[in-house]
């Protein structure tokens, strides 16, 4: 017996995608494959931005799509499919990043290794990118999530709020504090050279 679509009209702007979602909700795997194909690049890119590891990003993207498939019958379309998917990818990526961070610090503690090997100086851009990565890693988890999603989602506070399921004012506060912290630690020379 075919179930009626639970995606309200207008929940997703693209009618073709709405049709695919409705078919996938009824168990149509080919429709789901099309959804995966149209969203996989963004999902992978988001996981890669957070995890900085191609292998982990690929695994997280796969896990997220499988999670989407199992949760799809309950998708009511309150947000767009893309936002919903990004929320799942972002959560899984941040969780994994946190687990990896703990694991690395435990391994370092077990083996009495130094904090991190100093990177070989290549060029100014590489050094600056490494420096920024360290600074971002030093932010609180919430600030890190907000900063990451803000630059990934085209600088839209509204979108970040939807993806992270966080009130817009909270997003703005985290963003403000993260910017202040990053700017305070950002080297003077970097500002003067660009």
């Amino acid at each position: 017996m075919a179930r009626p679509s639970r995606v309200p009209p207008g929940a997703d702007r693209r009618p073709e995608e709405r049709r695919l979602i409705a078919r996938a909700q009824d168990g149509d795997r080919e429709a789901f494959r099309e959804l995966v194909e149209s969203h996989r690049a963004r999902a992978y890119a988001l996981a890669l931005r957070i995890l900085r590891s191609a292998e982990d990003a690929e695994e997280v993207a796969q896990d997220s799509f499988v999670r989407v498939w199992t949760a799809l019958p309950g998708f009511r379309g309150e947000s767009s499919f893309g936002t919903w998917l990004h929320r799942i990818v972002a959560r899984r990526s941040f969780d994994r990043a946190q687990v990896m961070k703990h694991r690395r610090s435990r391994e370092r503690a077990d083996e009495h290794l130094p904090e991190a090997a100093a990177p070989e100086p290549e060029d100014e851009d590489t050094l600056r990118a490494a420096q920024l990565q360290r600074l971002v890693a030093g932010l609180s988890p919430a600030q890190r999530q907000v900063v990451t999603m803000f630059y990934f989602e085209g600088r839209s506070v509204e979108q970040v709020s939807a993806v992270l399921a966080m009130p817009e004012n909270t997003v703005k506060t985290h963003l403000l504090r993260a910017r202040a912290a990053l700017r305070a630690a950002w080297p003077e020379g970097a500002g003067e050279t660009s």
């Binding site: 963004r42 796969q62 899984r92 990565q133 403000l176 500002g191």
Partner: protein, 204 residues
């Protein structure tokens, strides 16, 4: 505009979209000018670090194709086995999840009991067997003795065709009764759907 307000603006807004008053302040204040330059540099570095300028790189297509193939394979494998939880990504390895399944736990308990006190359990079953085997005949005797039996035979006499009836009459009666069975089955079907939905919602 003072330096504190300027710093606040840098934290809140975009360094490339500051109001004219703020820019005028930065032109006259060395410290704020350096802050602005640093902010712009940081903004560009953040954009490079996070922005999703995902050009269709030639090396990326195999990765993306692999994502689709693995996702679909996992979905199909799990559905073929009829177990949705196998498709679910989980931090725990599959053998831990399998061991936590209620059916597996129950089977392990039964196996452990059989190994531990198998002889005593078998003796108990042997002792109960005659009583259990006699149960259906006792129920039948109780049913025959009660008013249920009379009501049942009255209903059968009314609905079932007699031995000499034409086959057309039998077929007609069957066709007449079939929708009643369908109507009776519908509430059970709905109850089953509600049960599955509730279990699915709880699992999600």
């Amino acid at each position: 505009m003072n330096c504190l307000a300027f710093e606040r603006l840098l934290d809140v807004g975009e360094p490339d979209a500051l109001p004219a008053a703020a820019l005028a302040h930065a032109r006259g204040c060395g410290s704020c000018a350096r802050s602005l330059a640093r902010s712009r540099s940081l903004e560009r570095a953040l954009e490079r670090h996070f922005a999703s300028a995902l050009a269709p790189a030639p090396g990326l297509e195999p990765t993306l194709a692999r994502i689709t193939d693995h996702v679909m394979a996992r979905i199909e494998a799990a559905e073929a086995r009829g177990v949705r939880w196998l498709a679910l990504p989980d931090a725990l390895p599959w053998w831990v999840r399998a061991a936590a399944e209620p059916a597996v736990v129950l089977a392990s308990v039964v196996a452990a009991l059989l190994l531990w006190r198998g002889d005593a359990l078998l003796a108990a079953v042997r002792a109960w067997l005659p009583a259990t085997a006699a149960a259906p005949s006792r129920w039948m005797a109780w049913a025959e003795g009660s008013a249920l039996a009379d009501a049942g035979s009255a209903l059968a006499r009314t609905l079932l065709p007699g031995p000499g009836e034409h086959w057309g009459v039998t077929l007609g009666l069957l066709l007449g009764v079939a929708p009643l069975f369908a109507l009776l089955a519908l509430p059970f079907w709905r109850a089953g759907e509600r049960l599955v939905d509730a279990v699915g919602a709880a699992a999600r």
